[in-house]
Subunit: 413 residues, 2 copies
Amino acid sequence: MTSAPFDFAPLLPAGLPAPAARWTGLTKYSFVGGNNDPEQVPVDGLIDAASAVLRREGKALATYGLAHGPQGYRPLREFLSAKLKRDAAIDCTADDILMVSGSLQALDLVNATLLARGDTVIIERDSYQGSLNRLNRLGVNMVGIPLDQDGMRMDALAAALADLDRRGITPKYIYTIPTVQNPTGTIMLQARRAELLRLSEAYGVPIFEDDCYADLIWDGKRPPAIYAMSSNGSVIHIGSFSKSIAPALRVGFIVAPWEMLSRMLALKTDAGSGALEQMVLAEYCVPHFTTHVPKLTRGLRAKLDTLMEALNEQFGTSAEFEAPKGGIFLWVKLPDNVDTLKLYPAALAAGVAINPGPEWSTDKSHAGSRLRLCFASPSHQQIREGVAVLADVCRREFGVPERIANVERRART
Amino acid sequence: MTSAPFDFAPLLPAGLPAPAARWTGLTKYSFVGGNNDPEQVPVDGLIDAASAVLRREGKALATYGLAHGPQGYRPLREFLSAKLKRDAAIDCTADDILMVSGSLQALDLVNATLLARGDTVIIERDSYQGSLNRLNRLGVNMVGIPLDQDGMRMDALAAALADLDRRGITPKYIYTIPTVQNPTGTIMLQARRAELLRLSEAYGVPIFEDDCYADLIWDGKRPPAIYAMSSNGSVIHIGSFSKSIAPALRVGFIVAPWEMLSRMLALKTDAGSGALEQMVLAEYCVPHFTTHVPKLTRGLRAKLDTLMEALNEQFGTSAEFEAPKGGIFLWVKLPDNVDTLKLYPAALAAGVAINPGPEWSTDKSHAGSRLRLCFASPSHQQIREGVAVLADVCRREFGVPERIANVERRART
């Protein structure tokens, strides 16, 4: 470059998000991101799958979507159809499934199909940051519904729907992560799922069911999906292979009535999601999924135990939490005087990355002293060390936990 | 389902595209889509690459983006940095490259970063349908610049820029496919590239350089990219592995100043593009790209010859075209009375898929009797048979080519 650098700034439209910062690598003790356990990636199985499927069908890579059409690699959709029937009681065929580039693309497609600026949606009060951020970006109003240990509270949902109805507002959807809720780790009771469907029908509001953690339940017993219990097709169901196999593979899926799938397909102008990842997943999952997942969840459960033990050791009664029934994260309440938005940069400076609660909630004050800790990716040793560093930082910044907590040991599982 | 089906229609926002139709499979003689030659997919090489890279780095799939950050798998960006230097004289590092899910995601990210409804862009009069469709969807005004055998005409561009300037309009970018232009197959002369940069600087309009076919030049001699010739960083350059390796792998890339990359990263909320495809590509391409591509282009060149020979045989002087210097498509002019938007459904009914010209042009009347024929995917025999069927349909519908054409043979290369 010899001239003055070209200035793009005058050309940028209004409303762009702030530019990204340069990537500076992962934090030493990382309790953030939906990353999985590197030791649990089924590397040998994926190698065998890649070899077999490429040998048999590799030439098809010359054609967009492997000539299986825009809904994705058909054997993977057929695997999912059988799996969803077996695990979640969902009765659907490969034609009802759209493969997408991770459940994040599913969120984008569902939102693009249903939402306009100024719309209202109902969402669990504590929810996935990526969903909250998307809705904020779209200028959509969120009504947060509190959860308890059995998932979204139906009394609160009924009250919210009645209130919106009185104000003449029809929400565009009720978004829920019913099975291993993010970040609370709760599983919605089956009776509540039935009540949710009743309310959905009564008010004419569809349900957006995000089941992307549902494979990771400790006892392996997944309740029927809300999609499966619907009698009128009012549910859009999404899922992912990120949690059950590997997140860097960007493979998720949408199950929905054709009325909605056909709208989403019209907006999915990417000429198909990555075919090699879909091929390798199908080839691996058909024979191995049902043995891989229980092995994975045993390992995750052991890491959760280590995390809870470390929190009890380091934080004592200052850290409150309910042991989740599955998943990869723990939702922790610290004393009220701890502001996790301030704890976050202090911890990061000490090499510990956490998710501050307010970023995972529609209610910033409720979540102000809460944080989310992901436990799948760090090793047992990193979990123990990271929690110790976090406790030191928290003590320095907020005076809790008190020193005495170090010698307390409470088994809370 | 026992209740009346839920009706989503009242919830849909205004302005959605029409719903997609059900996929019904590929046409018998398909001359559409950027598909490649199935016999040229380097299956054995991809199998070896997948095994080697998974064996070495498979565990990293447990972390989003393989812990290489949001710009993509670093070895692939390093391969690209070296390749772009060697082939297109582009001086950039891995930090200047953003891996994306095919060049279609690149189009979306560049557009989202620069365009708002009502904006104006400059584009080659005949251009890629996917780019035209996106701009239409975004409500952006397009000013089409005619091309000749040496690419976009700079006299016409200068006149258009001066005219817009007089009207107080600053276009957001000048979009060009300079190297194997889609659909004309032309390569922009180096002197024109220099003139384009001069005009860009004079009017303060950045250049959006789409080089996704640039690897497929018969003589292997690619001119310097416009990005490489820029002295002020006003160029956004995009490319893809879809044409050089396989389109079903959704892997493309963007090279741009950090001012723009950081804006695009903020809009790329998909947690990274597919990692396995990036890993396998890097592992395969580092040792094999430079031997694979000449072999591929020799095969493509042979198919082009078959296509041109078949057109000469079947259409005689009714089909006019210039032999492209590379690529996978031929831009054909039929007699003025042929309306390719009407030829399209008639041909499809006979099992032949073509791209009608008006879908590939800002000037529907100029392109009304033109069509695009892709030749990489069909076999030599399918090309010959498909062109014969197309000629029969065209004769039936429009009276041309006349019968006598069948016995004419003209070598036009």
